[in-house]
């Protein structure tokens, strides 16, 4: 008896909760039902945390070269030493290959280098503001050639793991910056197109069609080739962002225009107009909230495209150029089959690319499904 009462009461309460839920809450509840999207949200968050703390997570200076430790294979961390917890890595020892007479450095298990946490390393500015030299891991003592090479080193002896951390930041930020720029262009031009219609709409739509009909790789090649050689890394970085978003905005503009056109005819928009509401109020109060979720979903689907664009441009040598570090530049080292045969760990840089792209796509799918909780 009492259980029936309490269950009807809880049903009534749940009903009340639904009835008073805001659009954001409904969207979130619906999004939570999409488990893959939820996991992807975690993955994406993790990657952006890496981007924020890239320098802290890097172990060695990503630009520091040392010819002696070129192509060192990935090294594991030994957690125990004679049964006692004492994390350490092995030192490196020079060995001459008697067939090729090539000198290479290989781990020497007899030399144990203890790992310290929050160690001092190269100096950097945390969040670009706080000068510090703390890093998550470091080794005490050892020779200059020694280090922790979790993912091995490249030809110039730079630690791949540290470079990957810094590359994550650049590749993710370039995607975000590119999407922001496309979003700005897309929402503005799409909004104008959908709101005013007529000749303006026709003009913008034709421009979009022309932009979309140009094959992207030759366009990027042309634009990237036009960048002066004398430009600094930062200037090239911004130029590449702009080039990528020049194509990206068209998709968003179409989404925004479509929503504007659909909403203009909606009864509740007409009702607001008949009540005497101003154009600005109708846009801000009735139209924008109705398509903001769609725009967010479209944006999260556009982000991976941006990241892939940057990666492929840099991979082809048209995007960022060394000494800048991005996923594309790391993969550039893995272009050569001979190098890959000897140092397959250089392909590691492809893993975060695939992970992030997949995560963003699932996230975008989940957001799109959740975007319209009334549908």
């Amino acid at each position: 008896m009492s259980s029936t009462v309490s269950s009807t009461m809880s049903a009534a309460l749940a009903d009340d909760r639904m009835a008073q839920a805001t659009q954001l809450q409904l969207t979130w509840w619906r999004f939570c039902r999409h488990k893959l999207a939820l996991v992807s949200l975690g993955v994406v968050a993790l990657f952006y945390l890496i981007a924020i703390f890239a320098d802290f997570l890097a172990i060695a200076d990503p630009h520091a070269t040392d010819a002696r430790r070129s192509y060192v294979p990935p090294q594991g961390i030994h957690l125990f030493d004679d049964g006692a917890f004492s994390p350490h890595v092995s030192g490196l020892k020079g060995m001459r290959d008697m067939k090729t007479f090539k000198l290479s450095y290989v781990p020497d298990p007899s030399r144990k280098l203890p790992i310290t946490f929050f160690a001092h390393g190269y100096s950097y500015d945390l969040f670009g503001l706080i000068p510090t030299d703390r890093h998550i891991l470091g080794i005490a003592g050892g020779q200059p050639v020694d280090g922790i090479f979790l993912l091995g080193t490249d030809q110039l002896g730079r630690d791949l793991f540290s470079r990957l951390m810094v590359a994550t930041r650049i590749s993710l930020v370039i995607g975000l910056a590119g999407v922001s720029l496309s979003l700005l262009l897309g929402v503005m031009l799409g909004g104008i197109s959908g709101l005013y219609g007529g000749i303006v709409d026709t003009l913008i739509q034709r421009v979009i069609e022309v932009v979309r009909s140009i094959p992207t790789i030759p366009l990027w090649m042309g634009l990237a080739a036009a960048l002066p050689n004398t430009w600094s890394v930062t200037q090239v970085y911004f130029a590449i962002t702009i080039i990528i978003s020049l194509v990206g905005w068209t998709e968003l503009a179409r989404v925004v225009r479509g929503r504007f056109l659909a909403l203009r005819e909606e009864d509740f928009v007409i009702a607001a107009e008949l009540a005497g509401a101003s154009q600005l109020r109708i846009i801000l109060r009735h139209m924008l909230p109705s398509f903001a979720s769609h725009v967010i979903a479209a944006t999260s689907l556009a982000l991976p495209a941006m990241i892939v664009s940057e990666t492929s441009l840099s991979f082809l040598g048209l995007g960022l150029r060394p000494p800048a570090i991005s996923w594309g530049i790391l993969l550039q080292d893995a272009q050569n089959v001979q190098v890959l045969a000897g140092a397959p760990w250089l392909l590691c840089a492809a893993i975060p690319v695939i992970l992030v792209i997949l995560a963003f796509n699932f996230l975008g799918d989940g957001l799109r499904d959740a975007a319209d909780p009334y549908g």
Partner: protein
């Protein structure tokens, strides 16, 4: 006194085609329509879909601009304004006096706003102070038979009938002189239709509403309207007091429409066959009377001469050449 006088209202939609979007034809959605609505009166506008009744209502609300004609609206202080020619800007202060009840109770309420905010919006944009708004929303919810707790809920928590009540409350928020109801019950279940009709009847009594009630179903119209105007392919073919139109229709099309109303008594069914053929294309209407290809009483004259809307008895108007010769069958 007339709240609204519509005279010679015409609305054509251009058909554009080709690369240069040249006008290649016109859809004559509304053709020379005239009627008036008295203070406290409900006029029903009835016809099949595509006959132009929604276009007429949208023109009166100025959601569309009429091609020609006059829409004279008299305000409370007696000033008469022609809405047909006003600019958007000049129209805004007048908007509050003519409000609309929508057909689809799902599309007409913003799903992202609380019911209280939806009803308060017309008050808000017309500068009613917050404290007064709050009280008015409670009053309106009570008026349409919704609990006061509805204010803090979203539209998705309500059924179609309840949503329609919210829509009615919003339309009444500013005490409009004229309410245009565009098929307010046709999207609802039959049982709920009766509730909404009763609510509208109750509001007519209590507030003395003047209303233009657009519908395609003569069964619904009988209960709410004082007079009925029947439209066919952009023209008004008959306009008469409700009781008279139902018992003694003066136009063959009205008779056909009445015959289509479902009747509970099987003995009465199918006394008159539904008109054969298709509704005429408003882009290419037949010459003469638009109804003549489907009319069982058509004579050669009907195919050449457009019949004018003439008064038959006091207050009853019909646009049929043979209106005085025919004895048409209504419903009891």
């Amino acid at each position: 006194m007339n709240v609204l006088e519509v005279e010679g209202l015409t609305k054509h939609f251009p058909i554009r085609s080709g690369l240069l979007q040249r006008e290649t034809g016109r859809i004559r959605a509304v053709q020379d329509v005239s009627f008036h609505i008295r203070r406290g009166e409900t006029l029903a506008l009835v016809g099949e879909s595509g006959c132009g009744k929604t276009t007429v209502s949208r023109c009166i609300l100025r959601a569309l601009s009429p091609t020609s004609g006059a829409i004279r609206f008299s305000q409370a202080d007696g000033t008469v304004t022609d809405l047909a020619t006003l600019s958007r800007r000049a129209l805004r202060p007048l908007r509050r006096h003519i409000q609309m009840i929508f057909q689809d109770p799902y599309a007409s309420l913003n799903p992202r706003m609380l019911v209280g905010d939806i009803i308060a919006e017309p008050l808000l944009v017309n500068g009613v102070p917050a404290a007064r708004r709050e009280a008015r929303v409670r009053e309106l919810l009570d008026l349409v038979g919704l609990p006061a707790t509805a204010r803090t809920r979203f539209p998705h928590a309500f059924s179609g009938g309840q949503r329609q009540r919210v829509g009615i409350a919003r339309a009444l928020a500013l005490d409009p002189r004229l309410v245009v109801a565009d098929e307010p019950v046709s999207a609802l279940d039959v049982s709920v239709q009766a509730q909404i009709i009763n609510l509208l009847l109750d509001l007519q009594d209590r507030l003395g509403l003047s209303m233009l009630f657009v519908a395609h179903d003569l069964g619904v119209v009988r209960h709410v309207s004082d007079r009925v105007a029947v439209m066919y392919v952009g023209h008004i073919v008959e306009i008469a007091p409700t009781a008279e139109l139902y018992t003694r229709p003066r136009h063959p099309y009205t008779e056909a429409l009445l015959a289509a109303v479902p009747k509970p008594d099987p003995a009465q069914r199918d006394a008159i066959a539904a008109p054969s053929g298709e509704v005429a294309d408003p882009a290419n209407p037949p010459p003469g009377c638009a109804f003549h290809p489907r009319c069982p009483f058509a004579v050669p004259r009907c195919a050449t001469e457009v019949p004018a809307l003439r008064e038959t008895t006091h207050g009853s108007w019909s646009a049929c050449h043979r209106t005085n010769e025919l004895t048409l069958q209504g419903v009891v």
